[in-house]
Amino acid sequence: ATVMAATAAERAVLEEEFRWLLHDEVHAVLKQLQDILKEASLRFTLPGSGTEGPAKQENFILGSCGTDQVKGVLTLQGDALSQADVNLKMPRNNQLLHFAFREDKQWKLQQIQDARNHVSQAIYLLTSRDQSYQFKTGAEVLKLMDAVMLQLTRARNRLTTPATLTLPEIAASGLTRMFAPALPSDLLVNVYINLNKLCLTVYQLHALQPNSTKNFRPAGGAVLHSPGAMFEWGSQRLEVSHVHKVECVIPWLNDALVYFTVSLQLCQQLKDKISVFSSYWSYRPF
């Protein structure tokens, strides 16, 4: 009997605590989340949000710590690359190759747009439950947190895990057709975001002889293909002979990633706090 009484008192305390959690703590966390995410979304300069003119341009000089065979200057305007200048020193004859975007062309970095859209969806979810909304159950909060976290994880994943592409996919992508003068047929270019960095990869190719004894095995999808990867393009079989990768940190992407991580942790902590109570009220909407 004493055990039962103790638990009854305990229960009362717990319920009080839970009520506080629902009514005060949740809103505090939501407010905090909103602030962080708004800060994050400010980093993605939204071109469509205002009519104050085109978004500002940022120049990034790409290089690698090792050799300087490839140098690139990329201009980022919001989520699109508006200009690109790539200099490539051919390894064999030290000949210098230069190519740039055509004037009228822009290349959209889908990763940035997706991340931005996911964040604004998360913000939309959060604002729909403002201070005036009364949470009645923990399940409700969990559901909201799940939805927000899904958007945030997606936003972060879009930046941290660039798409794995096969070489024919890279060859078919519109990026190769953006340049003036046109890219030589033995070059492939790919641009992507990896974490907080803007990366440019240049693949040099050579054709495999049709009667070559080399075992032809087409390479699968990868973010960065290594030399020796083979693929079939048109009627030709090609092999990657050299890979050059250069990159540059985009400071505001770094900030955004930090904000994502912090807000994800906040969400998870709130979820954990609520879940603690679930073991006390099993099978009840708590």
């Binding site: 997706d114 409700e140 909201l144 899904l150 994880t153 994943n157 990896n194 998870q268 909407p285």
Partner: protein, 1490 residues
């Protein structure tokens, strides 16, 4: 179907309805079904009656994430297909009528909206799905194959599309897609032009792009009434635009600051808009928005914000609203079903559907009180309404004293080796029960209902709160002790139990949160880790708990996010933990050190690398649906492994049975005919238990047990008695060393009667109570004292009993029901059994309890509560009216099982081998027998022909017993045995042919032809026979018109093969080049590979590779499957109903010309025969195509082709290269003797043996249907072959040719021909002799004589053999005599008679040959050159033969005109070297002398 096996699920839902937090709603076009998708990934189908009553019908499983959108996927009115998409990028195409998943695919991106659109090219219609989502395009997807065809893209500021609508304009005949991007830019694409050529995969760019400044757009809809306006609903306002130039017509704000979530046009002048919390408002549009009014567009360009349209109606919500945990989903639908309807359907987070009928709002002008809801029902309400309540798996053991809700089962694991189910419950106790027995209690009526505490069970108490997970490690790996059961609870503890003693071995308390998962490390870990299990807890920690050392050897904690996946890298001693945020932690198992923590690409790569290392140990924890899918995949893999095991076993069984050796050594076949899988739709739900019955495995188990029984039983009555005696003890079941050991252990532990030390007070009271009761009630005690072993009953038979009882259509034939209950021991179900349907790739549809309650009759359901078991209504026969796919599977199962049981001795579910108890005395047999005989109402010829009759040995055994007489008890035993078999036969007959009549066509959904066709050559013989019988019965039932329909439906899928049947004359290189070209398509090979993992000999194998001339090559599985099905189905129809060139002599099945289906007619009649030709081409292609990875030599499809070629040879003959086909068949059965030698039972054969068997059967069929064709073709081949053999260069490979290897087979067929169609053989006797001479070993004939080597041919009077000089004389049809010399193999022909020769005979000394022909009535004598030198000298020259005498004989009159008599008109008998007697059939003799 998962893989290829016939697996049927039965669900025990329990009283709590599954969580169904609705995320998407759809009403099908016919208005009869509402489809809802939920956040957990399930899809629910609800029947909607005309009176707007709703009844949930089925739950579809397959998606692993929240459903984002649903759409119709088919325009035709006779089939209702829907497509669903989930958050994780999966798309599934479902058939609404039966819940089959037809096609599925997965893309990297998430779709948030799908719209169906039908393109038409000429009169061809192509369904397309327009998808948008988290990507800046609109993808156009094929609606049948779910392949992405092309996309609609934006040139100007591309961004995600938030919503989309298709505008059909009758004015311009142009369809446009209008979409709004997330940034508020309106995009317009014109889609009509694209259909001009369908191969075009180039993207289409937008026509127009216009910012309309709509933030957070929720929906966009086109007014179907005026076709002039668009409604755009944003979260805070809604706007109406002109659909022509997209100018703003009016705008309305939100009500009281609520958030809009969507809207639609209700009529030309009204819109309905709904909010996030489920409120809906109907607005009347101002005149400026109405094209009909004069002031249309009068406000364009003005400040329209001031003009707020008035609210006309408010739709009222329920008064007693449940607490919702997320916003409900609302959609508006209008359509026509009996009358025009406009429905607003809303689904919410509690699994509730609300419907407002708003078609009658016009006459209700009083808007003050609002519009009341028409219907509302939640899943839980539907469950609660039912009586009896939906059963849970152990409800009878979980009754709580003061509550009518049983304790919930929170975790469960099935131990197939013991047939036990272990259930952890919410009070912390764990119950172990025999799975079949507890399921029988839940589902079937019987005497067990009266017993208390039944079935025998054991309760383990140790956890203080609910049990969250259970693991039986021995099942995963044999390295673990088979006594150990591991459980984890919400009380943070992990407990090791001994399941035999019920003892608690150890408690681990290492985690700081409830245990969420228990796992087994892979095989190649370090020795220490191998004896650990891995536990995962909700405090984001992972532990390795050693069962041997009884301690935690590693605890990996401090993960920031919930653990989503655990992987292993045993070679590096790494434990890899994947968290829900995408981060990966790598732990060293030995030291417990964190090696590294990574994110992003590296994390993905590490996880993938682990998959490569240990592919089997993939364990995803987060989602129950994922687990289910994996479980199913694993299950089918396990089933395949078992199949491989069987093949060995089959051999072993047969050997053992034949030698009657010690059966104790026979390895026991593991019991996987029943699998119990617990599923949770949501993590917080109690378990739902699905019983998977594998029909094939069950058949095999039954037959194996039958084989391991003393099989001499049938031969003599004494043995029979012994057999029944031995089965008393459990028969074959207790055999096996391991079983014996187990049994011993169990016995000992029961004696000790260990009590758990963690019993709480109440429990102890109950224990005392029980003891008291036991003492007072002897009967109770006796039932209680029954040891808790499960080895007491026959698990296989129990499984069969449960399954058959659930499948049988009760209440249709009272006599048969009686037989089933009394004689076969089946039990009637309590209530309707919830079956399910498995589709490919782990997709599953499960019927909800009460699925068969017509939606409109729910209210009547309550009145029936008082009546006890409304047996006539619903119970039993219901499942045959659910859907055609379900009917097919159920009929296949019940017929194949009934056939199997029929072939067994005394396979009844009553009796000593089933349970302990007083044996029922065998009934007096004769009256019963007569009654049983009379019971089937229509025993037509068809029935007789199709249903396997009672096994012949049984009948003969019975007559044996009757004759012996000395052993009185044996006779009744045999009688019951016979009666049981008779009962099974009736059961099969009823389900095979009588169901449509008994049920009535309105309640019977006929089986699907294509599903039966796919099983035409199932690897399991019993299933195969059932499928064939059913398919033929169904084809007959649907008659001419139905068959024509089937042909019309399937003919388009028939692949058009290029005509390159490989004749032996053509070099095989030529054939190779033709076929290799289409084979080399890369992506398709990949598809094939993955397919192969699960579907080892599915019918689709190798179908696409062979279709170079299809209009478009589709890689879709369904497409390939349809081609295969079309070949089989048309093959069957053609073979069974097609026109024959000339009626075969043996078969007497009349085929009136009116019955011949279009396309299978005669060539001469000018009718259409193209189908017959194409089908024949396809079949021969499949037979003759050289084996390749895609078309393995012994695949199902090839076997089917073989079978159908044989069956329909008379139909195909004109279109095929007969010699190529015959050689192909001979090739396959060349080694048949070896493979089929010791296989007699219905156990599955190896694919090679199986195709040999089919080929052999086909050959026999061809030969008997068309003896001349067979004989002449083979003779031609023989001649060609011998001609080649004469050529010395090719001498080497002569022995390896098909013809050489198939000699035995050819002889076998010839023998059959001589037996069955002697006239045909006589007509071509010389050719036959040529073949025989080729096939027989010359030396053997020399040694033993023809009579011994091939006795069959010597029956003919026109064949004579003279052993001394090894000559054979054969009288031919056209009056010549062929003389063979066995030594040289040469043959010479002499012409002597004007008509067919009736008899030939050599004189005893070989000097003379007498020949007689009845036609010209002459007897001739020929002198052989038989000098002593002859035998040597004649080696190189033909023997000299000359006619020395001819006598005229009065002709013999045949006794009757029958052709058989013509063969035996007269014979020649030499009485001495010079005297011969011509003996006529009527006994007249004529003597002649040379």
């Amino acid at each position: 179907m998962a893989g290829n096996s016939l697996v049927l699920p039965i669900v025990l839902w329990g009283r709590k309805a599954p969580t169904h937090c609705i995320s998407a709603v759809l009403l099908t076009d016919d208005g009869a079904t509402i489809v809802t998708g939920c956040h957990d990934g399930q899809i629910c189908l609800w029947d909607l009656s005309v009176e707007l009553q709703i009844n949930p019908r089925a739950l579809l499983f397959g998606h692993t994430a929240s459903i984002t959108c649903l759409s119709k996927a088919c325009a035709s009115s006779d089939k209702q297909y829907i497509v669903s998409a989930s958050e994780s990028g999966e798309m599934c195409l479902w058939d609404v009528s039966d819940g089959r998943c037809i096609e599925f695919t997965k893309l990297a991106c998430t779709h948030t909206g799908i719209q169906f659109y039908q393109f038409s090219v000429g009169n061809q219609r192509e369904g397309r799905l327009l998808c948008h989502g988290h990507y800046p395009e609109i993808l156009v997807v094929d609606a049948t194959s779910l392949e992405v065809l092309y996309s609609l893209v934006s040139k100007i500021s591309p961004d995600w599309i938030s919503s989309m609508s298709i505008i059909r304009s009758h004015r311009t005949q142009e369809d446009t897609v209008v979409a709004l991007s997330v940034t508020g830019i309106l995009k317009v694409w014109i889609v009509t032009s694209e259909i001009s050529d369908m191969q075009d995969t180039e993207p289409i760019f937008e026509e127009e792009s216009k910012p309309i400044y709509c933030q957070n757009c929720q929906s966009i809809s086109f007014c179907a009434f005026t076709q002039r306006s668009l409604l755009v609903v944003c979260s805070k306002y809604w706007r109406v635009f002109d659909a022509g130039d997209y100018s703003l017509l009016c705008s309305g704000p939100s009500e009281n600051g609520q958030t809009w979530t969507g809207g639609d046009f209700v009529s030309s002048d009204k819109v309905i808009i709904w909010t996030e919390n489920g409120q809906s408002y109907i607005y009347k549009l101002p005149a400026s928005c109405l094209p009909a009014s004069d002031s249309f567009r009068s406000d364009v360009g003005k400040a329209v914000e001031n003009l707020i349209p008035p609210v006309q109606h408010i739709l009222l919500d329920r008064k007693d609203k449940e607490l919702l945990i997320c916003p409900p989903v609302t959609r508006f639908f209008y359509g026509c079903r009996e009358y025009f309807h406009k429905l607003l359907i809303q689904g919410d987070s509690s699994g509730r559907l609300n419907i407002w009928n708003i078609s009658d709002t016009a006459d209700k002008q009083g808007s003050e009180e609002g519009l009341a809801m028409t219907t509302s029902i939640s899943l839980q309400e539907a469950f609660d309404k039912l009586n009896p309540c939906p059963a849970g798996i152990i409800d009878q053991l979980s009754v709580i004293p003061n509550s009518n809700e049983p304790l919930k089962v929170t975790a469960s694991v099935y131990i197939p080796a013991h047939g036990r189910l272990v259930c952890g419950r919410e009070d912390g106790s764990i119950v172990i029960v025999p799975a079949t027995q507890t399921a029988i209690v839940q589902l079937l009526q019987g005497e067990h209902m009266l017993r208390r505490g039944w079935p025998p069970h054991r309760t383990l108490r140790g956890h203080r709160n609910k049990v969250t997970c259970l693991l039986y490690p021995h099942q995963v790996s044999a390295r673990y002790d088979q006594r150990y059961l591991i459980s984890g609870g919400v009380d943070f503890s992990v407990i090791i139990w001994d399941i035999f003693s019920g003892e608690m071995k150890h408690i681990f308390c290492v985690h700081g949160g409830e245990i969420t998962q228990l796992l087994v490390p892979p095989e190649n870990c370090s020795a220490r880790v191998q004896h650990c299990i891995c536990s995962v807890a909700s405090d984001h920690s992972v532990g390795l708990l050693s069962l041997r050392e009884k301690k935690c050897i590693m605890l990996a904690s401090r993960h920031l996010f919930p653990i989503q996946v655990i992987k292993w890298r045993p070679s590096d001693d790494y434990l890899v933990v994947g968290c829900s945020d995408g981060s990966v932690y790598v732990w060293q198992m030995d030291t417990g050190a964190l090696d590294r923590c990574v994110m992003g690409i590296t994390a993905v790569e590490i996880l993938n690398a682990c998959d490569e290392a240990v592919p089997a140990a993939v364990d995803s924890l987060s989602h129950p649906a994922v687990n289910l899918k994996q479980a199913m995949t694993r299950r089918s893999l396990a089933a395949l492994k078992n199949m491989a095991h069987h093949k060995l076993q089959t051999l072993a069984t047969n050997l053992l049975a034949s030698e009657a050796s010690d059966k104790g050594n026979l390895p026991k076949y593991s019991h996987n005919s029943l699998m119990v899988q617990a599923i949770k739709t949501n993590l917080t739900d109690p378990d739902i238990h699905v019983l998977f019955f594998d029909v094939e495995a069950l058949i095999i188990q039954l037959l194996t047990e039958e084989a391991s029984r003393p099989n001499t039983a049938l031969i003599s009555p004494e043995n029979l008695q012994k057999a029944s005696g031995s089965s008393d003890k459990g028969g074959s079941f207790l055999t096996g060393k391991r079983a014996a050991v187990l049994f011993q252990q169990v016995k000992e532990t029961i004696k000790e009667n260990i009590k758990e030390h963690l019993l709480d007070d109440e429990e102890e009271d109950e224990e005392i109570m029980r003891q008291r009761r036991e003492e007072s009630d002897p009967e109770y005690r006796s039932s209680k004292s029954k040891p808790l072993t499960l080895l007491e009953y026959n698990l296989t038979m129990d499984t069969a009993k449960l399954f058959m009882s659930c499948l049988h259509a009760w209440g249709l034939n009272e006599v048969l029901d009686e037989v089933c209950l009394d004689r076969l021991g089946m039990l009637k179900p309590h209530c309707t059994v919830s079956f399910g349907l498995l589709s490919r790739g782990g997709h599953m549809s499960l019927m909800l309890p009460g699925y068969n309650q017509p939606a409109c009759k729910l209210s009547h359901g309550k009145t029936e509560v008082g009546r006890k078991l409304p047996a006539s209504e619903g119970v039993g026969k219901g499942t045959y009216g659910v859907s055609r796919a379900v009917t097919t599977q159920h009929l296949l199962s019940i017929i194949s099982l009934a056939n199997t049981l029929m072939s067994m001795t005394n396979a009844t579910f009553i009796g000593d081998h089933m349970k302990k108890g007083p044996t029922r005395p065998p009934r007096p047999s004769t009256p019963d027998l007569s009654k049983a005989r009379g019971s089937p109402p229509t025993s037509s010829n068809i029935v007789q022909g199709q249903i396997k009759q009672v096994a012949a040995p049984v009948v003969s055994a019975r007559s044996d017993a009757d004759h012996s007489g000395s052993d009185p008890p044996s006779a009744p035993a045999l009688h019951t045995c016979f009666l049981v078999n008779e009962g099974w036969s009736q059961l099969a007959a009823m389900h095979c042919v009588m169901l449509p009549d008994l049920l009535g066509l309105d309640k019977f959904r006929p089986p699907l032809l294509e599903m039966l066709a796919r099983r035409w050559q199932d690897r399991c013989l019993e299933v195969r026979e059932a499928a064939q019988a059913l398919l033929l019965a169904e084809l007959r039932r649907i008659e001419q018109a139905g068959r024509k329909e089937a042909i019309d439906a399937w003919a388009p899928y028939l692949p058009q093969y290029i005509d390159h049947v490989i004749s032996p004359g053509v070099t095989s290189e030529a054939a190779q080049t033709i076929t290799t070209a289409p084979d080399a398509s890369g992506p398709e090979a990949k598809v094939q590979e993955e397919e192969h993992d699960l579907v080892d000999d599915d019918i689709t194998t190798g179908c696409l590779s062979s279709v170079p001339q299809m209009k478009k090559i589709s890689t879709s599985y369904e497409e390939r499957r349809k081609q295969a099905t079309a070949i089989v189905l048309l093959g069957v129809i053609g073979a069974e109903f097609g026109a024959e060139i000339e009626p075969p002599k043996l078969l007497t099945r009349p085929r009136s010309s009116s019955q011949i289906p279009e396309g299978f007619g005669l060539t001469s009649g000018g009718s259409n025969y193209s189908l017959a030709r194409h089908t024949c081409k396809a079949l021969t292609f499949l037979l003759l195509q050289p084996p390749s990875p895609k078309l393995p030599p012994h695949s199902t499809i090839r076997r089917t082709a073989i079978d159908l070629i044989g069956r329909g040879f008379t139909v195909w003959e004109p279109y095929m290269d007969v010699s190529a086909v015959l050689m192909g068949l001979l090739e396959l059965c060349a080694d048949a003797e070896k493979q089929l030698a010791n296989i007699t039972m219905g156990l599955p054969l190896s694919p090679a043996a199986d195709s040999a068997r089919s080929a052999r059967h086909a050959l026999s069929l061809i030969a008997t249907a068309r003896p001349p064709a067979f004989i002449t073709t083979i003779a031609k081949e023989v001649h060609r072959h011998t001609a080649l053999a004469a050529n010395t260069q090719s001498q080497q490979n002569m022995h390896t040719t098909t013809l050489a290897r198939a000699k035995g087979e050819i002889l076998r067929v010839i023998e059959i021909l001589i037996e069955k169609m002697p006239t045909d053989v006589v007509d071509l006797l010389v050719e036959v002799m040529d073949i025989i001479m080729y096939c027989l070993e010359g030396s053997l004939v020399k040694k033993k004589g023809l009579q011994e080597c091939f006795p069959a041919i010597c029956r003919f009077y026109m064949v004579s053999y003279y052993e001394r000089n090894h000559r054979i004389a054969v009288g031919a049809r056209h009056g010549s005599v062929a003389l063979y010399d066995i030594r040289t193999g040469k043959c010479q022909t002499i012409h002597g008679h004007k008509g067919p020769i009736t008899a030939v005979a050599f004189a005893p000394d070989g000097r003379y040959l007498a020949t007689y022909s009845n036609t010209d009535s002459h007897i001739s004598f020929w002198q052989m050159n038989t000098s002593l030198l002859g035998s040597i000298g004649m080696l190189n020259s033909a023997p000299q033969l000359r006619c020395i005498k001819t006598y005229q004989v009065p002709p013999v009159q045949p006794a009757s005109p029958g052709s058989h008599n013509a063969l035996k008109l007269a014979r020649l008998i030499w009485t001495s070297n010079r005297n011969v007697i011509l003996m006529a059939h009527d006994g007249k003799e004529h003597r002649f002398m040379v």
